[in-house]
């Protein structure tokens, strides 16, 4: 980042103070991003994105104003600060209950999470990236399992994001984070029956191109493609009635994210996302209340090194630490920024994230997972008379209070008398959040803990946040399958 950009950030704070801002933050974000898109083996596009902009947020007179700009001139900065201040004051004047921020310790910090030398996003030759992607496509195209994969789409994104955040309270946080992301869609077809099944692929990690080896991406994709082929050629109908479910890291992860992460967001609980992402079945009075069984502890932790949702200080400069969304089944922590924390007379849990210079920081998840338990995988399975083992999921959705959810299995097997049998097609868990967490009676050990990458959607305008979600394996007793 240039010294001109740094100067503008610092001058923005001075300008806000001059205009009487109670609080002002200025956040400079510079992103260098490369991408490649491969459609059915053909390189559809190579792309480069370069952004450099500043977001200003002001609290004045109990109102909030935000303005951003990407033409780095003093005039643009002054216009942005003046707008944010004027509109904070104007809207604050109309509020009965004034917006305030929670008091937080002020930090100065400079941290990085970079790819290994020679593998950082801007260091790797574009040809090496596209050839790696073409290799992945070949694995799918040449699948030999009796099924074919005629529909294939891949996108790889590698980026470096530099941030510089300062506030008029003295916070000063610099960070530089590399990120690698891989997206894909593959649809397997049984040529004899025409039966089809789709698989969405998403991998993501803080770091550089070394992540592809960390994921053993070729091995992973070959295994998943073979399973997809078997699903359309071998899977049988899933049983109905009241049965047990054993779900794997991918399914636990999405359940933790949707059924407990989102409803624990402070701004949702306050109704601030009411017109968009919705509200919550949880409220402040429910803190301390039992939601799940004693086996369910759900943690959101942005400080996991190398994770997709990694940060050490949030976008309000608050130092991050693990948040216990459920502790032994009891609702404990919410995901707060300083605004929602103040409304609930508590402290921020460092969940403020802004995805880009032109977005406001709002409460978000980072890396959400179910704390592992004591069971081996075999112990979890052996006690099931009739059930389904759901390794991963395809379709899912949940109502906007996060109470009624549905997860449809992709790779899923029948369990009979403690043994895993054949593949079953699209089994479906459609149940409520308390029923789901209340029915968990066993969780597998830490060495089976895995994370998946996802993009969490929230905000208006939309802010797609990179997140991890995961777990080991868990058993859910007596789920009714229709």
């Amino acid at each position: 980042m240039t010294s001109n950009s740094y100067d503008l950030v610092e001058k923005a704070i001075e300008e806000g103070n001059k205009l009487g801002a109670k609080y002002i933050e200025a956040r400079l974000v510079k992103t260098s991003l490369n991408t490649s898109i491969l459609k059915n083996g053909v390189p559809e596009l190579g792309g480069i994105i370069r952004t450099n902009g500043i977001g200003i947020r002001v609290l004045k007179n109990g109102g909030l104003g935000f303005a951003s700009f990407n033409e780095m001139t003093k005039d643009e900065m002054k216009i942005a600060v003046a707008f944010a201040t004027k509109m904070a004051e104007a809207t604050g004047r109309k509020r009965g209950k004034k917006i305030i921020f929670s008091d937080e310790e002020v930090h100065e910090a400079d941290y990085k999470s970079l790819g290994v030398n020679g593998k950082r996003p801007m260091e790797v030759d574009p040809e090496e990236k596209i050839q790696r992607l073409i290799g992945l496509d070949k694995i799918l195209a040449e699948l030999q399992t009796g099924a074919i994969i005629p529909y294939r789409l891949f996108q790889m994104i590698d980026q470096t994001e530099e941030k510089y955040l300062i506030t008029n309270e003295g916070a000063k946080i610099k960070s530089e984070i590399d990120l690698l992301q891989l997206f894909g869609l593959a649809v397997a077809v049984n040529p004899n029956t025409g039966s089809k099944e789709q698989m969405m692929i998403q991998k993501g990690k803080a770091g550089g191109l070394e992540a592809l080896d960390y994921w053993k991406i070729e091995e992973y994709l070959e295994k998943e493609a073979k399973t997809l082929g078997k699903i359309v050629t071998e899977a049988k109908e899933a049983p109905k009635g009241v049965i047990d479910y054993v779900v794997g890291p991918n399914v636990i992860g999405i359940m933790c994210h949707e059924n407990q992460g989102h409803p624990a967001e402070g701004d949702r609980i306050l109704g601030r996302e009411g017109a968009q992402a919705g509200e919550s079945y949880l409220n402040k009075e429910m803190i301390g209340e039992r939601i799940g069984s004693e086996n369910v502890t759900i943690i959101d932790d942005s400080t996991i090194e190398g994770s997709y949702g990694f940060y050490l200080y949030d976008d309000e400069g608050v130092k991050a630490k693990p948040r216990y969304l459920l502790k032994k089944g009891i609702f404990e922590d919410m995901l707060h920024n300083r605004e929602s924390a103040a409304f609930m007379e508590t402290s921020s849990t460092a969940a403020a994230r802004a995805i880009g210079y032109n977005r406001e920081p709002i409460p978000r998840m980072a890396n959400t997972y179910l704390e592992p338990g004591d069971f081996s995988f075999e112990e979890i399975i052996e006690d099931v008379k009739l059930g389904i083992f759901m390794q991963n999921f395809t379709e899912w959705n949940i109502d906007d209070r996060r109470y009624h959810s549905k997860y449809v299995g992709l790779e899923a097997y029948l369990i009979e008398n403690g043994e895993i049998k054949h593949l079953v097609r699209r089994p479906n868990i459609e149940t409520t959040t308390p029923k789901l967490w209340g029915s968990v009676d066993a969780v597998a050990k830490r060495d089976l803990l895995e994370f998946d990458a996802a993009t969490c959607g929230k905000g208006d305008p939309m802010q797609g946040a990179p997140v991890y979600h995961g777990g080991s394996f868990m058993r859910i007793r007596k789920v009714e399958v229709r």
Binding site: L8, E44, G47, I48, T91, Y151, E273, G274, H404
Partner: protein
């Protein structure tokens, strides 16, 4: 401190650099916009926002290698270095066998009415009063609290291509949505979108939201099963418009569409005719040219229930043996406005038509997800007021049901459409759609087990 760059200088600089580096085909596009937003919740303003942005986008081709860049870091140095990186990137890519050129000029562009309204140049002070009036109207209908957002913007777009396109256009737009609550489970929503301030009816949106919220008080859990469903334009804009939106060759090739090999087939009843129409006055998807600089137009997608064609850019059109429909995006064809020819019934007549079958009126939905795009297998969750219709009248509010069916079944089972044509673009429906209320027969609804 540097000075702000002039748009024509940005284009000239890019043009020179692309020529210097021997790019054969290219499109340079700038978008300078000033966008504002006012958000509210619990009847109070939560934040006011403003974005001043200038974005440079370039699509360029060198020896059939296709590359693109988007630059929001607008210094001459960054523009030059990004285009140099594009040349290096093009040199490392294999040929794109799907690329067959961009549209050749000279071009004559359509004159579209009502794309811009100078009122939005200075709208901040008015915006506060107008949003407050919508909140008040919702309260008068019985709402206890409302949340929502008003967004408006003023944009100048400039485009130049290596094949002779040179276009400048000015647009404005607004998007207002409000969601009102009587209690945590009883809610309704309203929407008002377009390009002209004179058509911005805040109070109607507030009234719709408040009225539905009030009507949904006392809701009971719905019973799963087969229903006729009457979809509001918001829901139809998602679930019914999804099928013409799937008439896209890129989506078909990658497995995101359920319309492969269906051109010429009957996919709906006679009463359904749908266009992709870039020329609609006040349409949020209306524009004079696409991302290749090709003039836009009105293209039939479904005619009397028969799938007639797909939207195209130059490459997908040549591959399909047809001509561009003026729907080029940077990577793949994109819709402008999806326009449904309205039906002949009033909303009340839709209720009456369905009086002999179990019927639900669904006012809003969200979270539409697919188990299989190629087969159109999906589910979606109704939100806000949902009601049982009995003897042609809206009666008992119900909750906690999920639409679980296939897109092709739903489109095929359209029974009637109302006379209105309402423009929709919301958080859940990002694609602009003009659509009436729609009655669909025999739709599967499921429910969670408790």
């Amino acid at each position: 401190m540097p000075e702000k760059m002039n748009v024509s200088n940005i284009i000239e600089l890019s043009n020179n650099k692309l020529n210097e580096l021997d790019f054969a085909d290219y499109v340079i596009e700038t978008e300078r916009s000033n966008r504002s937003q006012l958000r509210f919740a619990d009847n109070q303003f939560t934040i006011a926002k403003n974005w001043a942005s200038t974005i440079l986008s370039i699509f360029a081709v060198k020896e059939s290698r296709t590359v693109a860049t988007q630059i929001e870091d607008l210094s001459a140095e960054t523009i030059n270095s990004s285009i140099e990186s594009l040349a290096k990137l093009a040199g490392s890519l294999p040929k794109n066998e799907n690329y067959m050129g961009i549209s050749d000029g000279p071009f004559s562009y359509p004159n579209i009415e009502h794309l811009a309204d100078p009122e939005f140049l200075d709208f901040h002070d008015k915006s506060i009063d107008m949003v407050e009036s919508a909140i008040r109207t919702a309260e008068e209908e019985g709402a206890k609290r409302s949340a929502g957002v008003l967004l408006w913007d003023v944009t100048e777009r400039n485009l130049r291509s290596s094949q002779g396109a040179s276009v400048k256009s000015n647009t404005t737009r607004y998007e207002f949505s409000i969601r009102s609550f009587v209690d945590e489970k009883s809610s309704g929503s309203g929407v008002a979108v377009g390009r002209l301030s004179s058509k911005l009816d805040f109070e109607k949106a507030g009234k719709d939201a408040g009225k539905i919220a009030k009507m949904s008080v006392g809701g009971i859990n719905g019973e799963p099963g087969k229903y006729n469903i009457i979809l509001s334009p918001k829901v139809a804009g998602d679930i019914i418009a999804a099928t013409p939106a799937a008439a896209n060759p890129f989506s078909v090739e990658v497995g995101f569409s359920w319309l492969k090999d269906k051109i010429g087939e009957n996919i709906g009843p006679d009463l359904v005719t749908v266009y992709d129409d870039s020329l609609l006055p006040n349409g949020l998807g209306s524009r004079v040219c696409d991302d290749e600089g090709h003039p836009t137009g009105r293209n039939i997608i479904v005619e009397n229930g028969v799938l007639k064609g797909f939207i195209h850019n130059t490459s997908t059109a040549k591959k399909a043996g047809t001509t561009s429909t003026g729907n080029a995006g940077i990577v793949f064809p994109v819709n402008s406005n999806i326009f449904f020819e309205p039906g002949e019934q009033s909303f009340e007549e839709l209720l009456e038509i369905s009086k002999d079958k179990p019927t639900l009126y669904i006012t809003n939905n969200w979270y539409t997800r697919f188990t299989s795009y190629v087969d159109g297998v999906f589910s979606s969750i109704p939100r806000d007021g949902m009601f049982l219709v009995e003897n042609g009248e809206i009666k008992q509010p119900v909750r906690e049901l999920r639409i679980t069916d296939t897109m092709l079944n739903i489109f095929k089972n359209i029974r009637a459409m109302s006379k209105e044509s309402i423009q929709i673009k919301t958080w859940e429906v990002p694609q602009p759609v003009f659509i009436p209320y729609v009655l669909v027969e025999d739709v599967n609804l499921t429910a969670a087990t408790s």
